[in-house]
Every structure is written in C-alpha cells, then in structure tokens.
C-alpha cells in the first residue's frame, strides 16, 4: 500500500466536500479530496447540456429496459438526459424493512449532487435552532442562529444567490442577494392576490444559487436554457465545478482523486486520532492509503454514516465516534406537506424551450408569529408555480386531425400550483445501520435504512394540503383541487440528513460544537449527517455554512499546532 501524507483529507466532493476543500486550501492547508465517482469536467462533460428533445433516443421517456433504479420515487435516476449523474442502485443497493420504504438518491461523481440539485437556497431561521430544546423532540443544537449567521453571509456572498430579502422571521438573511428572477404576469397577479388575502404570508420568488448577475468571467448570469440538471457550462448554476473547486484549485494546494472509494477511516492504535483513509480504486479494486492530520467526512449524510460504521475497529467497535451509541440515529428528510392546484386566466404565450430556473416561495408561516397549530408542531414552507398547458394536453384532449393539430399549435389554459415542504420531527427510531448480509458491487456492506414518517409528519402533510387549498380559494382561484395526501416515502425530498448529532455532551451526541467527533478530535463530519433538526428549509446552504465554519476552526487549530 502506497502512503502519502496531506494536511487534510476531504472525503467526497459534493456541496459539502467542495466547501471543505476550498476553505482548507485557502487557509493554507495541503488537501487531498477523494471521490468515489468519475471525474466530471466543467463544461466538457455536460454531454447533454443543450441537446434538443429530438436528439434523445426516447425523447425523454427514459430507458425502461435499462432502469437504474427499482426503488420507489427514484424516477430521476432513469431520465435520459441526466441519468449519467445519478447512481445506479443495482451497483449501489440498500435495504429497508418491507413496510418502511425509503427513496435514496445519490450522485456519485466529482461534484456529487451539486451537479443535480435544484438550488433552492434558504437559511435555517433562528427558531429552527431552538425548537428541539423547546418541544423536546430531537437533541438540542449546540449552536444558535447567531453562531452561524456570519457563515451564511460568507457563503451567500461567495456562491451568488438570487432572490428577495424580506423582513420575516423564517426568511432571514439576504444581505448579499443578487436580484431575484423576475416573475411572469400570472405569478405577479398571484403575489397581489396573496398580499390581499394573506398579508401575513409573503409570496416571492425562490432564493436560488443561480446567478442573475455575473461573478467574475467564469460565472455568467443564467441564460434560461432550461434543463439545469444537465450541467451548466456558463457557471450560472452553483456546483462544486463552477464555484468551490476552481477556488480551491487556484491555491495550488488541492489534489483531487476521482474513482477513489474511501472504504475506511484509519485511526492511531489508541483510537484517539484519525490518521488517514483506506481507499479502493473503483476500477481496479486495488487498495491504497493516504495519511493526513485532519479528516473531513463529506460523503453525503447517509454515506458518511456508512463510512463511519465501516471504519469500526477495536477501539471503536460500534463505528467511529459512536461512544454515545447515537451514530445513525435521528435520520430525517423533508415531508411533502401537501399541494393544491387551480386554474386561472392568462395570455397566449410562445412555446418555450427553456425557461426560468426557479419557482416561487412562501416562507414558513405555521407555529410562528403567534400562530399555534393544535394538530402538529413546527411547520412547512411552500413553493408555487404558474404555468400554461402545452402540447402534452393533447393526450388528455378529445379529437384527432386538422382541428386537433391547430388547437395544439396554441398554448392552453393557465394553472397555479402550491406545494408544501415540511419539517420531519427528529425521532430516535429513524435510523440506519450496516446490513449484515448485503454488499454493493465492490463487496462493501450496504446500509439498512429504517425510517418512517410519524404522526406529527402526517398531520402536517394533511394540514398543509388543507391550508394550500384554502389559500388558493381565498385568493379567488377557480377549480381548486387538493392533491391527495398519501403515506409518503421518506427520502423522496432528497434531503436525507441526521445520524451524527451535534452537542456539548459527548454521552448525548456524536459531534461537538465544531462538527468534530467527540471521540476523535481531528475527525470532522460537516455534511447533512450533522443536522440535529431539518427545519423547513432546503438544507444545502446550511451544510455549506457549517462546513465553512468547521473548516475555519480546523485550519486555526491546525496552525496553532493543536491538530
């Protein structure tokens, strides 16, 4: 086994790993960033980026015979234009109890899911850091909003977030926001109706890590080409490739190794320090190891937990950093908190091939500002869209022939949709562990994911659905239709997180206030695994801010000779 030494090793190169690499290198450390997946070069490797629909064999219907996933709610993994960014679950299986399905979506390549995400970028609000302590669900965060606010600002300024700053308790921040994407006339009308019917619930354009103004030469404003998830060579879309990786590379202190599966984190004999990592070459399966003074685990929440469990040794028999027994517990995702749709009138529009990258947003308004729900704790935020029917309505319309064709030449009626995305309560019963029987294509034990929605989650989904339908009705829309609330499959929001809770007390948490394992002070976990609650906000902004904060701490400790 070859041995090479770095100041820090970063496992994973997605949203979190990219930030760890940038911060650690910019603060002077020599860093090795390892990713299990292939290299994806910015621009060159976005092979479907501006392709027209007719350039795809099945024209967007997906390749049914070569499905990449038979797990529930994983349709994205089979899309013809983006499937090459989604992990094939036949190679990367996982198990669940029969009655507790879970949808786990991974992006295993350099850039991780930063190449696939929808880029809605919100802070957690002050209340989100307090509610675990207030209502007793989950473990109290060892930090409050004030501890992370400046890091949110720092990230906001660097990555470029477009949106609107509003004075509302669950919509903090916005000092460095770029102008938001403009709303279309139907959305503007909806905004006006909302302001009249619900003046206490602001509706505005989503905050997006998508540029409306250039940052330097290599990150240009969005040109509305449409399918953002195919890769964005203009760098308008925040990804590791467009943003954090170039910054880290510019320091000349970063080495990136793709196709390198970290199979174990190595520790000293006493178990008190991480000494490096063991890596399997994804192609040759050859093993090698690398040494470092610091290890940052950023493999995405559940993969990070899996790695910590796979790294169990004599000193850490239940997985690294698990003296509390809490590793893998309190797994969360966001709850689909209902949806409703209505029709409205609007202008004829041209047929567009492309479009604006973001939706509309209503920050959480439940259980804040004096509102108190009798049926559930915490709350949900909403997204909205206004769109008009296109040719696809033809499949639902009667008729054939010339008149039919001429009708479809025009765009159709307008609709508005509101959907909710809610906080899933942290619950110790929602957990992951290593499956003793099943292995992935590289012979590595897979995760057993045992996670389900609880009563509070279901009550919020039901309540949200009713709220949204009521909102549309009170705004004066016609034909309001409430989406049925199903059982819900956790993981569907692709915001899986938790499992390595932070805290001050090492008996009651896995990580300390700076994201390092209580048991191993040079081992940091800064992705979604470190979340004590999921809030109502899309989470990646928080992972970035937490990672930047932890990396600054680690670099300072390193320079002071304490790591």
């Amino acid at each position: 086994m070859a041995q090479e030494t770095y100041d820090a090793i970063v496992v994973g190169s997605g949203v979190s790993g990219g930030w760890a690499a940038k911060e650690l290198t910019e603060r002077g450390l020599k860093v090795l960033m390892l990713d299990r997946g292939r290299m994806v070069r910015h621009g060159e490797d976005y092979v479907t980026e501006h392709k027209a629909p007719y350039e795809f064999k099945f024209r967007g219907l997906g390749d049914k015979r070569n499905s990449q996933s038979d797990y529930p709610n994983n349709a994205l993994a089979n899309r013809e234009d983006t499937k090459h960014f989604f992990a094939d679950t036949k190679l990367h299986p996982y198990t669940t109890p029969k009655d507790r399905p879970f949808a786990w979506t991974r992006g295993n390549q350099v850039g991780g899911k930063s190449l696939m995400w929808s880029r809605q970028t919100y802070r957690m609000a002050p209340v989100n850091f307090e509610e675990n302590a207030i209502d007793g669900h989950g473990l109290d965060w060892p930090i409050r909003y004030a501890d992370i606010e400046s890091w949110y600002d720092y990230v906001e300024k660097f990555i470029g977030i477009s949106g609107t700053a509003i004075d509302y308790p669950t919509a903090p921040g916005g000092k460095y926001l770029q102008p938001g994407f403009p709303l279309n006339p139907i959305e503007k009308d909806m905004q006006a109706r909302m302001a009249k019917a619900f003046p206490d619930r602001p509706l505005t354009v989503a905050r997006m890590a998508n540029l409306t103004q250039a940052i330097g030469d290599d990150r240009q404003p969005c040109h509305y080409c449409g399918p953002c998830g195919r890769g964005c060579s203009t760098g308008s879309y925040f990804s590791t490739q467009s943003s954090t990786l170039p910054a880290a590379m510019a320091t000349q202190r970063l080495t990136v190794l793709p196709d390198s599966i970290v199979t174990r984190i190595l520790t000293s004999e006493s178990g008190e320090r991480a000494t490096g990592v063991e890596v399997m070459d994804a192609n040759t399966r050859e093993k090698r190891s690398y040494n470092a003074r610091i290890v940052f685990v950023c493999a995405s929440a559940l993969e990070s937990l899996r790695l910590l469990m796979l790294s169990a040794n004599d000193r850490h028999p239940n997985g690294l950093g698990n003296s509390s027994g809490l590793l893998g517990k309190y797994i969360m995702d966001h709850v689909g908190a209902g949806g409703a749709m209505a029709t409205t009138k609007g202008p004829q529009t041209p047929h567009i091939w492309g479009g604006r990258p973001g939706v509309m947003w209503i920050p959480r308004f439940r259980n804040i500002n004096g509102d108190k729900r009798p049926d559930y704790l915490r709350g949900y935020q909403c997204n909205g869209i206004a769109f008009n029917d296109d040719w696809q309505r033809g499949a639902r319309m009667p008729g054939i022939g010339v008149d039919f064709k001429n009708t479809l030449r025009q765009t159709g009626g307008w609709h508005v949709i509101l959907t909710g995305s809610g906080e899933m309560l942290p619950d110790i019963g929602n957990k992951v562990s290593l499956d003793p029987d099943v292995r992935d294509a590289w012979g590595i034990p897979v995760l057993h994911i045992d996670v389900g929605l609880g009563d509070n989650d279901m009550a919020m989904a039901k309540g949200g659905s009713e709220d949204l339908a009521e909102m549309l009705k009170n705004m004066g829309y016609e034909g309001v239709f409430k989406f049925p609330v199903g059982k819900g499959v956790p993981g569907t929001s692709i915001h899986e997180m938790g499992g390595a809770p932070m805290g001050h007390d090492k008996r009651k948490s896995v990580l300390d206030v700076n994201n390092r394992a209580h048991d191993i002070p040079n081992l940091f976990v800064t992705d979604g695994a470190a979340m004590n609650s999921c809030s109502q906000s899309n989470p990646s902004f928080t992972y970035m801010a937490m990672t930047a904060r932890a990396a600054a701490f680690a670099a300072a400790e390193f320079k002071a000779g304490r790591l």
């Binding site: 279309n184 509305y224 041209p350 047929h351 604006r356 033809g394």
Partner: protein
C-alpha cells in the same frame, strides 16, 4: 383525416415513402432484445397511417413527415417491455380486425373517410378513463403526440419553439416547463 396523397406515401409511393419503405424492410429481419420480432412492414404502414390520421399534414408536415412512425419503431424495438410489445402488436391486429368487420377491408385499404371514422371512434372509446383495461388507442395517441411534438419538425416548424423564448418574453419569463422535455 387521411388524404389520398398520404395514403400513397404510406403505402410506398414517393418522397418520405422511400424512407418508410427502407426502414420497414430492415425492421422485418430484426429480433428485438426481448426476443419479440420487430414490427413488420405491414404493421409499420398501419402505424404510419394511423399516426398521420391523428396529426395530418397541413401547412406543416404531419406525423409521417416528422418521423413519428420511426419513433414508434424505436419505442417498439427498444423501449416497450416484452408484454407491452405483445399487447401493442395485438392492438394493431385488433384495429385491422375492426376495420375488416366494419368495412370489409384492412385499415390501410379503407377510404380516408372510413379511416377517419374508425380513428374518431377509437378516440372516443379511449377517452373513458375508467375502462379496464384501457382502450389501447389512448396509448397510441399519446405516443403519436409525444413523437410529433418532440421532433424537430414538431418543435421548430409546428410550434415554432425557440430556445431563448423564455429570456425574450417581455412579460417576464415562464418557469421552465417540463412539457418540452
């Protein structure tokens, strides 16, 4: 409605028919990866005629001119699962059987008016969302529409969809639609 000219093209006349003919001849010899035989020339012509009946040539090309029959062949050969291939093939036979029953000739030999009558009839039947199994024409129509409006002809000539329309709309841009894939 199916014009005489379309009928000529479909049954192997000039222009686009050349393509249709060549493609179908190749298709007969092929066995798809499920083990099912590929579409026969006869089946291919039936598909073309039905698709053109749904989206005919007007001031812009219809289904045939947009390559919808070829899209069906791709779907049949490489996309349908085996049971779907079998069901689809059976539905093609059923369309012809019904044409024979009503007009004593295959769909392709029916007059344009007869074809139109049959297609309209199937369209009405397939509109019943509660029918189990659903009438197969619903799927046929859906694939025809999908094949047509995602083709270059459908997008660029018929819909005049342009890539930067969203950016240039003075009213403010629309959210990216899923409908153009």
């Amino acid at each position: 409605m199916l014009s005489r000219r379309t009928m000529l093209i479909v049954t192997g006349g000039a222009g686009a028919a050349g393509l249709v003919g060549v493609g179908s001849a190749k298709a007969v010899t092929r066995v798809t990866s499920t083990g099912e035989a590929s579409l026969t020339a006869q089946e291919f012509r039936l598909i073309a005629a039905m698709a053109e009946g749904i989206i005919p040539k007007t001031d812009t090309p219809g289904a045939i001119g947009a390559g919808v029959p070829e899209f069906f062949r791709t779907i049949f050969n490489d996309w349908f699962l085996k049971d779907e291939q079998i069901a689809f093939r059976a539905s093609l036979k059923a369309y012809d059987d019904e044409a024979k029953l009503r007009f004593t000739k295959t769909f392709l030999r029916c007059t344009a008016a007869q074809q139109s009558e049959l297609l309209n009839d199937w369209d009405k039947k397939s509109a019943n969302m509660f029918a189990r199994p659903p009438h197969p024409f619903g799927q046929f129509k859906k694939l025809t529409i999908h094949g047509y409006y995602t083709s270059q002809v459908g997008l660029e000539l018929e819909l005049k969809a342009t890539m930067d329309a969203a950016q240039n709309d003075p009213n403010g841009p629309l959210i990216q639609p899923v409908s153009l894939f």
